[in-house]
């Protein structure tokens, strides 16, 4: 049976064609191209959304412009020292770090939790072909992820240095290869990890622990990278600094020493069609292909052993006694409490949801802690020497109590709202949403339960960020209390906005839980809405300062205004739920 019509196991052309088909189907199904086409051009349903996204991206133009100006300024500073190519390196390294971080989520979810695996595995396909298709989808996702970081630097540098054709051609080829090395490394580790996890009975817990360890490792890499790039911290003396800056490309080599592909990418782009450029380009591609082939080889051996049976949980058969049953059967719980309990359990028991939701509320402040501890040479929180980046930050915000409070509140609010818990709360129900539609619980009560759950996660982020700010920014208790008050009330508003966006267009037909939260457009739309709201708050604060109100009065007015808007938006959300639920078909 094996092979047969397709010319056996090694049937070159037909296998290549099969691989092409699997990749094409994977990409089309993952990005929902057929659905997008149908909705935009046949049903003409989501055209408003296409416009909204286009307008939102226009809103990001000033931000892009800011990045371009910064790149230009840094280029002007580095150029006389012969260090300008370090900018490219920083861009590529930042891009690859992002790929590494997001890749952990993408790889675990796409390789092991997407429901189409149940359809793909019984087909006469090799494990490597299935995995290659999934890898291709992740690579495309990563192109989109790193575009915001890498493209402004590469394009701006190309334009201001009046780069030739070689620069642009090599830049395109480097960009094409950029995600492969970090993703292949992540895939190799994950495939090996899942092979062992799959034999265990505590799969979910191990997946969670494994993922956290991988994320911690990626963050650790960033710390080491920071130390490497930072040039040694407080012990650096003037002579070393002078030597460092007068030696051409020393910064580039220092950054790249930790992660050589960063150097190869930089030299390939900067060198263009010169020998150095082509050799480095070839090196980058050769290593990328080598790692990819290695990953495919490992996939052929281990992928199916890790994935087959992963969804199965073997529970022990255990009959409860009458007493035990009587104790475990609940009674008298209100519907809101029951819905909240369901939300809580499902979120915390689904590794992908937990990693992308609740844990983000903690990871974001943790990244800040890492940034704070870079270059302190182990000095930690209390250190205030010249190498402590927090010193500058503290100095920047310590001028005025109003600035301290607002900056702290902004940090806490962002940490509370950056996770996608609220903006995926309806989408996460997926095909099980029918249950919420048929139970005799008013939509407003269900929305209220979901709000409590989402807000608790936001509050977790706010509290964690508050603790971090208190320790590292030395924010006083009174200032912290004011900042906490502001961010907790702002958190209500942002939670409501996220939920409303998801309620307006819930994504219920996902096959991969990653799509419900990480790749859910509603999460991005909610972030854009949050930026808009915080911008409005910024202008409101400016107006209050201009009105020459005292710090206490200004904060009081701001708090009261936020509280009124938050309460009104919460009431509107409940009404919207009553109207929207019956219309979701």
């Amino acid at each position: 049976m094996s092979g047969g019509a397709r010319g056996g196991e090694g049937g070159g052309v037909s296998r290549a064609r099969t691989l092409g088909t699997v990749i094409r189907v994977g990409v089309r199904s993952n990005f929902g191209l057929a659905i997008i086409k149908h909705r935009l051009f046949k049903e003409k349903k989501d055209r408003w959304l296409a416009w909204l996204i286009a307008v939102s991206f226009l809103g990001v133009v000033p931000l892009f412009y800011g990045v371009v100006l910064t790149v230009q300024n840094v280029y002007d500073i580095l150029k006389p020292m012969g260090q300008e190519r370090a900018l490219l390196s920083l861009g590529f390294l930042a891009g690859q770090f992002l790929i590494l971080m997001f890749g952990i989520y993408y790889v675990i979810s796409a390789f092991y939790f997407s429901r189409d695996l149940e359809l793909l595995i019984p087909l006469p396909l090799r494990p490597a072909e299935v995995m290659t298709s999934k890898f291709a989808v992740i690579v495309i996702n990563e192109y989109l992820t790193v575009a915001a970081v890498v493209l402004p630097i590469v394009v701006t540098l190309g334009i201001i240095s009046r780069a030739g054709v070689g620069y642009w051609v090599n830049a395109a080829l480097v960009y094409a290869a950029l995600p492969v090395i970090p993703l292949a490394v992540v895939s190799l580790v994950v495939v090996a990890m899942m092979r062992f996890i799959n034999v265990s009975r505590k799969k979910d817990a191990l997946i969670l622990i494994g993922s956290i360890l991988l994320i911690a490792l990626a963050l650790g890499v960033q710390v080491v990278l920071g130390r490497t790039a930072g040039g040694g911290g407080p012990e650096t003396n003037a002579v070393a600094v002078a030597k460092f800056f007068t030696s051409p490309d020393s910064l580039l080599n220092r950054i790249g020493a930790f992660f050589p592909p960063g150097i190869w990418a930089t030299k390939a782009v900067a060198g263009g069609f010169t020998g150095q450029g082509l050799v480095n380009l070839a090196l980058l591609w050769a290593v990328s292909l080598g790692l990819f082939v290695g990953m495919v080889g490992l996939a052929e051996m281990l992928f199916y052993r890790g994935v087959v049976g992963l969804g199965e949980t073997t529970g022990k058969k255990r009959r409860l006694t009458r007493d035990q049953m009587s104790r475990r059967v609940t009674s008298g719980r209100r519907a809101v409490a029951a819905v909240f309990g369901r939300e809580w359990k499902i979120m915390n028991r689904t590794p992908i949801f937990l990693l992308n939701g609740t844990l983000v509320a903690v990871i974001f402040p943790a990244i800040f802690v890492l940034m704070a501890t870079i270059d302190t040479g182990g000095g930690g929180a209390g250190k205030s020497g010249g190498g402590d980046p927090m010193v500058l930050l503290r100095a920047m915000i310590s001028a005025n109590p109003l600035i301290i409070i607002l900056a702290t509140a902004l940090f806490m609010t962002i940490c509370g709202s950056i996770n996608g818990t609220a903006s995926s709360t309806f989408s996460r129900e997926g095909t099980q949403f029918w249950i919420s539609r048929v139970i005799p619980v008013a939509p407003r009560e269900q929305a209220a339960a979901k709000f409590v759950h989402s807000y608790l996660v936001a509050a977790l982020g706010v509290v964690t960020a508050g603790a971090v700010a208190a320790i590292f920014l030395h924010v006083k208790a009174a200032h912290m209390a004011a900042a906490a008050g502001l961010s907790l009330v702002a958190g209500v508003l942002l939670t409501v906005v996220g939920m409303a966006i998801d309620l307006a267009r819930p994504l219920l037909d996902w096959t991969n839980p990653q799509k419900a939260i990480k790749q859910n457009l509603n999460v991005l739309l909610a972030m854009l809405a949050d930026i808009g709201i915080l911008t409005i708050v910024f202008f409101a604060v400016k107006a209050l300062v201009k009105a020459k109100l005292g710090t206490g009065a200004a904060l009081g007015v701001l708090f009261a205004a936020l509280a009124v808007v938050a309460a009104a938006s919460y009431t509107a959300l409940l009404k919207f739920a009553d109207r929207r639920y019956p219309a979701i078909e």
Binding site: R318, R333, A337, G341, I346, R349, W434, R437, P582, A583
Partner: protein, 243 residues
């Protein structure tokens, strides 16, 4: 009691008419079998009865409650079993039953009695504390059925409830159908299994291209049939749905 009055539903901006002017009454104590070819409008009708879809026109009442105007009152007396048991895989069977008990406000004594009874009948008692994720398709179907029976509903609406059940469970479910309706409650279910409909149902409705083309008791359906050979439900079904 379920009443559908001139109910219509179409998709794709009216281009596809799924249900066309359907009028139907299912009396208390009645087992009503709803038959039809694939795509005839069975699931659309069922989803409208339980409030998952909104009719474009017409009115649906359950136990006198208008599904559109008093949705909560209608839902309080109705339970639904879908054709595919998509339920919360990360909850245990017992957690899911507790959730359903809580949202329907089932008193503890009733809850305990019904849970114990149906878990034993469906042989789910030894696995009720395991995550639903670990259940087979048939076990998931059984836990959905147990959840639907837990509130002791006046009206049960089931879409292909026998699919995925082993013969013993199917037999027990049919017994439950009789018991349920013996207490004056209403049961509305769709099926493709003609023998089951023929033996079990008090009345049968056949829907074809969105229209109710036949409705009545088995005797009434046979009387409708003008062909000599039209003796079995299968033959009647084939005749009324061939156009």
């Amino acid at each position: 009691m379920i009443e559908l009055t001139h109910v219509s539903k179409s998709y794709n901006k009216g281009k596809v008419k799924a249900v066309d002017d359907l009028t139907l009454t299912v009396e208390p104590g009645e087992i009503f079998g709803f038959l039809g070819p694939n795509g005839a409008g069975k699931t659309t009708t069922i989803k409208m009865i339980v409030g998952l879809l909104r009719p474009d026109a017409g009115r649906i009442t359950v136990e006198g409650h208008d599904v559109a105007k008093e949705p909560l009152a209608a839902k309080q007396v109705t339970t639904y079993v879908p054709d595919f048991p998509a339920i919360y895989e990360r909850l245990t069977g017992l957690e899911y039953l507790n959730f359903i008990g809580d949202v329907y406000g089932v008193p503890k004594a009733d809850r305990l009695e019904r849970i114990n009874k149906w878990l034993e009948i469906f042989e789910l008692a030894p696995v009720v504390t395991n995550p639903i994720q670990s259940y087979s398709h048939g076990m998931k179907q059984k836990i959905v059925l147990t959840a639907a029976l837990l509130p002791g509903p006046r009206v049960m609406v089931l879409d292909e409830p026998l699919v995925g059940l082993d013969p013993r469970a199917a037999h027990q479910l049919k017994e439950m159908f009789r018991e349920h309706c013996g207490a004056g409650k209403t049961l509305f279910f769709s099926t493709h299994i003609m023998e089951v409909a023929e033996k079990l149902c008090d009345r049968i409705g056949i829907i074809h291209r969105g229209r109710l083309v036949a409705c009545g008791t088995m005797d009434e359906l046979k009387a409708m049939d003008r062909t000599e050979a039209g003796q079995s439900l299968e033959e009647i079904f084939l005749e009324v749905t061939e156009k």
